[in-house]
Symmetry: none
Subunit: 200 residues, 4 copies
DNA sequence: AGATAAGCGAGACGGTACGTCTTGTCTTCTT
DNA sequence: AAGAAGACAAGACGTACCGTCTCGCTTATCT
């Protein structure tokens, strides 16, 4: 039944935004970001490579930084969306190992570029925190709380501290590159950290 | 053999580089960096504020990035030069607390700006590592090895891992600012990390 | 059939070049050139005075020299466009007198500045020749040939030589300023030169 | 009398000014001027090529323009110093032919560069007039007056006008290069000009 | 169907920073 | 004292990039 105009979305007048172009832009921006770095990519360069005008870019994003930021997270979306629901130290361990792997990958490098590139833009920095850091913290927090409930971790365990103790060293190596960020490191890190919070 | 001939620098010809101007430039650059941020400072602005010509700037530094980099470390030199020689867990603890304090200070903020600002310049990044990160690691390593020798820490302790476990979480909070980097955090971090490596 | 397809200029895409700004630039440049001289005018100065960005300047002109060159001829266009069609010695005389008057005027001074300012730029020098020197020669040649046909000048008269003999001394005084370039001089010059080519 | 030491020239203290260096500088400057053009030569370049410091250059010359100016005339001195004393139209003719030859030579080109290069410097322009233009005028004037006295030229001949009529067309072609400045032209020019002033 | 509204590519534009260059002066040590 | 070496201030030059604007065309909805 078509009904008397069941106005759900009151579709705006005028030519609709080309959704396909948006994807094209972000994909192109990601590639440029990956190949040339954050500062080396130019807004006009993105526009040209995506077959789009500069004006279109700035109609949807406020700045070059924002475009690259979005490009990064649009690309990471399928990678970052980990359904890692569950509980227990085994899962916590697996999660950390995966995170370490991600950071060491090409995608991780691109993300580091974005993180450093937007550092002076308060707004984007907060968004980065929310869309990446806090999201992962939340997942970790859930797993940790489950582990506490299961009696695997001491009841006095402070999830926030534990998270920082697990993530921090990974992050440290990731950004500074003073030492390799490999599986072995992640494993030893996990074991040593957990030792302090484990029951017995 | 002509004698020990303790390498006397054969003073270069011509008008000597104005050491005073150099200091003035770096000091000015530091202030601008502190007040405006990494990207917002311009090379000509530095020159003007320091009462120096642009050419002089680029005679001694290759780029704006390099100037700000040097400005940062020139300013930090007296702060970073910690004679923390000694041994024992007490010293290790004190060192970490001080580091945490430094990172949370205004100087720490400026350093974060430089760290993120130069991230895409391989050369400067390596220099940052050498002049800051590795230097601190060396101090920590010495203290840790002393502690092992004293029997305070297990003989199996891997200094590198321990350093990353202590520094990482600090660094994590410092750069991301998702949670406060205060004394309490540093203390709890230290206690929990050390727990895993302590004898008994 | 749509017609003989009278070449319609297929308006180029994109934002059209601001013709008004171009005029503004050239007019401003002319004024600066007149007031300060060729070397004393700066490209940024022109830009600023014309309310235009440096980039716009260099989008349309290759160098400062070219801008000033164009500015000069754009300004002279209405002055230089003399319809002096006709024939006979009277007209030739009038033409020379007018030329002398022009060279001695403020416009003439500006032109001298341009002529000397671009002397080392082969391309501009050739353009100067074509847009000024050769154009005037052509007019003179036509008048001279008419005069020959009318029997006022000997049939053996070499127009090129005659032109140089009339223009040269004017040019000589104009550029060097060793002696005044006034009407009396122009008249006497004309009379003496013509004497050699006149019939009888 | 104070002793043997018959102090005639009280030789000034300190290192004596190197007269030889002056020549070296001007010679070098001339070569650079010839090879690269007026604007393309830099003051430091001259200094370096002459094995002299910039300061030395500016101790004796006020500006780059002045150096090149001097360099030009120092080089031309032997060429320009023509003993053409004498009288009669034959000598006048020979003189004009020689002048034409000089202007068409490499030296002439260099001189054109200087003439145009210093056009905006009032002082140098006047010096150019005095050292070159007026000097030649004087010679020409003397020859012309002799010719009048000899009855070869009309007594009513205005030497100034005659000089401009002979020099102007040469100068015209020299600087603009719209037509060749060869011997044939000089001859025809001379014959036609003289025709108007010759007796009978 | 025509009017209206917005999206869009092309590319010019103002603003501003960059890093290089050149001129003429100044400072230090050497001859 | 004169000079070479070369650092310096001043400031112009031409390039690059950012984000905005203008133009004409296209794609949609609304009347």
């Amino acid at each position: 039944m078509k009904g008397p105009k069941t106005k759900i979305a009151p579709r705006p007048r005028g030519r609709p935004r080309s959704e396909q172009a948006q994807q094209e832009i972000l994909e192109t921006a990601y590639k440029l970001l990956r190949d040339k770095g954050f500062n080396a990519v130019g807004s006009h360069e993105i526009a040209k490579a995506a077959g789009v005008s500069s004006a279109t870019l700035y109609r949807w994003w406020k700045s070059k930084e924002e475009i690259l930021f979005d490009a990064c997270f649009e690309h990471m979306k399928p990678i970052l969306a980990i359904p890692e629901t569950g509980s227990g130290l085994t899962r916590l361990r697996r999660y950390i190992l995966r995170a370490s792997e991600f950071l060491a990958s090409e995608e991780g490098t691109v993300m580091a570029r974005v993180l450093t590139g937007i550092h002076e833009d308060q707004r984007l920095r907060r968004m980065f925190l929310e869309r990446y850091v806090n999201q992962r913290r939340q997942i970790l927090r859930a797993i940790i709380e489950d582990s506490i409930a299961l009696g695997e971790l001491k009841p006095t365990t402070d999830p926030e501290l534990l998270i920082d103790m697990l993530s921090g060293p990974l992050f440290f190596r990731w950004l500074q590159g003073h030492a390799p960020l490999d599986k072995g490191f992640a494993k030893r890190l996990f074991d040593n950290v957990i030792h302090a919070f484990q029951t017995q």
